[in-house]
Each structure stands twice: as structure tokens, then as C-alpha cells.
């Protein structure tokens, strides 16, 4: 973590919370959670509310599919923390080999045409947003996505284009696979807000 204040907490209350959660959960509280506790007068809570609704609210996509979309954005943006954190949740509902195949090359992965179309749209949205056009949206809709499905997928991509960037810029510490797995339990139970 490049900003030590985030690591240790900015108030006494947050320092106590960080220590308590780490002790109870049996793992070092991940840096993503430390950021959520930091400088809460700024944009974090508003981003958290959008993330919670997008990742856990009603949608045509399952929670695992949304988490897989998040992990895919993280892979495209070279964010190992987010690949690990969100891949660990995706595998709770999708076969691990399929998750790995998507993260390696979603075009050849054994997923539905509908999910592949969402990933194709999000890939372009992530890497070359200025070239995204109505034709790209048409292609996704023709593959069976509703407009709501496509907007929900685009919201996942937009949010994780934010989270992956600050995770990388702040230098998030990468937990072990076991700790990613324990953190997945926490994110499934408690969500993002």
C-alpha cells in the first residue's frame, strides 16, 4: 500500500475496526476494505452504493456472472488483486476451469453466447472506449441480451475500470489464495456498501 494512512486507518474507530475484523476473520483485512474505511467524506461510499446495487441487486446476470465480468475487467487492466478477489467469488457459482478459461481468453471459453457477447462489449468498453459504437451494442442485443442486461454489464465494467485503477495506483497487497477465498466469504455475506 503506497499510502500508509490507509493501511493503518484514519481514525481511532477505523483502526480498532481493522484490527477487530482481521482478528475475527483470521486474515489480514484486504486493502480494498481498508480503502472503504478511509476518508469516508469523499467519494468511496457513493461508489460503494453503486457497486452494491450493480453486483448484488436484481439483474438478469447471476452474482457469479457479474463477479466473472469484474475479474475479466481486472485481467484486461492487469490488476492481480481484483482478478484474485473477484475470481474467488465467481468460482462459487461457475466451474473454476470455466472461470480460468474466461480469464485466459473469453472468446474460446465454454460460456453462453449471451455472456460472451457481454464480455465482448465490456472488452471494447475497457480497452478502447472511444471506438465503442451503436454497432457494438446491436451485436450484443442480437446475441440475446436485453437492454437492461447490457446496461447492467456495462455498469460492472465501468465500476471495475475505477476499482482496478485505484487498486493498482495504491499498490494493493496481494493476499494468498486461501485469504482470497476467506475474503470471498466476507464479500458474499456483507457485500460492497
Amino acid at each position: 500500500m503506497r499510502l500508509p494512512e490507509i493501511d493503518r486507518g484514519d481514525t481511532l474507530k477505523h483502526r480498532v475496526l481493522i484490527a477487530m475484523i482481521s482478528r475475527v476473520s483470521g486474515l489480514r483485512l484486504p486493502d480494498a476494505a481498508r480503502v472503504a474505511f478511509y476518508h469516508q467524506d469523499f467519494a468511496g461510499p457513493v461508489l460503494g452504493a453503486w457497486t452494491q446495487q450493480t453486483m448484488r441487486g436484481p439483474s438478469g446476470w447471476s452474482i457469479s456472472e457479474r463477479e466473472l465480468m469484474a475479474a475479466a475487467v481486472a485481467a484486461w487492466n492487469s490488476c492481480p488483486f481484483c482478478v484474485g478477489a473477484h475470481g474467488a467469488i465467481a468460482v462459487r457459482g461457475i466451474d473454476r476451469r470455466t472461470v480460468n478459461a474466461v480469464l485466459n481468453d473469453y472468446q474460446t471459453a465454454p460460456v453462453t453466447d449471451r455472456l460472451k457477447a457481454a464480455l465482448t462489449f465490456n472488452d471494447k468498453l475497457t480497452r478502447t472506449p472511444n471506438t465503442l459504437s451503436a454497432a457494438d451494442a446491436h451485436t450484443a442485443l442480437d446475441a440475446g441480451l436485453t437492454v437492461a442486461d447490457l446496461r447492467d454489464a456495462a455498469a460492472v465494467a465501468s465500476i471495475f475500470n475505477i476499482i482496478t485503477r485505484y487498486a493498482n495506483a495504491l499498490g494493493f497487497q496481494i493476499p494468498s489464495d486461501d485469504d482470497f477465498d476467506k475474503s470471498a466469504d466476507m464479500l458474499i455475506k456483507r457485500g460492497y456498501a
Binding site: R2, L3, P4, E5, I6, D10, Y38, H39, D41, F42, A43, G44, V46, L47, A49, W50, Q53, T54, G57, P58, S59, N77, S78, C79, F121, L125, T126, P129, N130, L132, S133, A134, A135, D136, A137, H138, L141, V147, A148, L150, R151, D152, A154, A155, A157, S158, I159, F160, N161, I162, I163, T164, R165, Y166, A167, N168, A169, L170, G171
Partner: protein
């Protein structure tokens, strides 16, 4: 989830942009420029451009220079978060435009 209403994606996106403008300790003009992707002076420019283009290559030195320029870690945090939010909201706008054009007119 995508229905127009208080919980819609566009409303969340607008609330996020408003929060960046309405809160924070760093200079408001700086935050607005970072959010919009407009030009900012060094050392902000180097870090903000790096976050937009390839955040995996941000360096300790780039972050340390912005801590020094803002005078606090909290200030640097605001700059980093705002640069990331700018990149994300730019993508949300691109998606909304593409989807809007696709659904407004037949292909």
C-alpha cells in the same frame, strides 16, 4: 435494476461525479480537471495520465510526488480516486451513448 428511478445506473453515475465535485480537501478546480480528463500541471499530470492509460505501471515516485504536492496522503488519495472515477465514468458515458444510439434507431 436499469429502470429509471432513484436507484438507476445513470443516477448512481451522476451522484458519483457530484460527490467528487462537492467534497474533498484538494483544490476543486484540480479535482474537476482530473475528473474530466483535462490538462493538469505536473506532478499531477504524470500520475493521472498513468492511471488513465496503464495503472499497473504507477510508481512509488509518482504517488510520493503527489503526496508532496497536495501536502497530505488524503490529498493524494483524492487525486488517485478522482482519476480512476474519471476513467470509469468516461466508459459509462461511452456505453450509454452506444446503447442509446442502438435502441433509438434501427440498425
Amino acid at each position: 435494476m436499469s429502470a429509471v428511478g432513484p436507484e438507476s445506473h445513470p443516477e448512481h453515475a451522476a451522484a458519483l461525479a457530484a460527490r467528487v465535485a462537492d467534497s474533498g480537501e484538494t483544490d476543486l478546480a484540480l479535482r474537476r480537471a482530473v475528473l474530466a480528463g483535462s490538462e493538469v500541471p505536473d506532478p499531477y499530470r504524470e500520475l493521472v495520465d498513468q492511471i488513465a492509460e496503464n495503472s499497473a505501471r504507477v510508481t512509488d515516485e509518482q504517488v510520493a510526488a503527489v503526496v508532496q504536492a497536495t501536502g497530505s496522503q488524503m490529498g493524494a488519495f483524492e487525486v488517485i480516486l478522482t482519476a480512476a472515477i474519471g476513467a470509469g465514468l468516461n466508459r459509462w458515458d461511452a456505453a450509454e451513448t452506444a446503447i442509446g444510439k442502438a435502441t433509438d434507431a434501427p440498425s
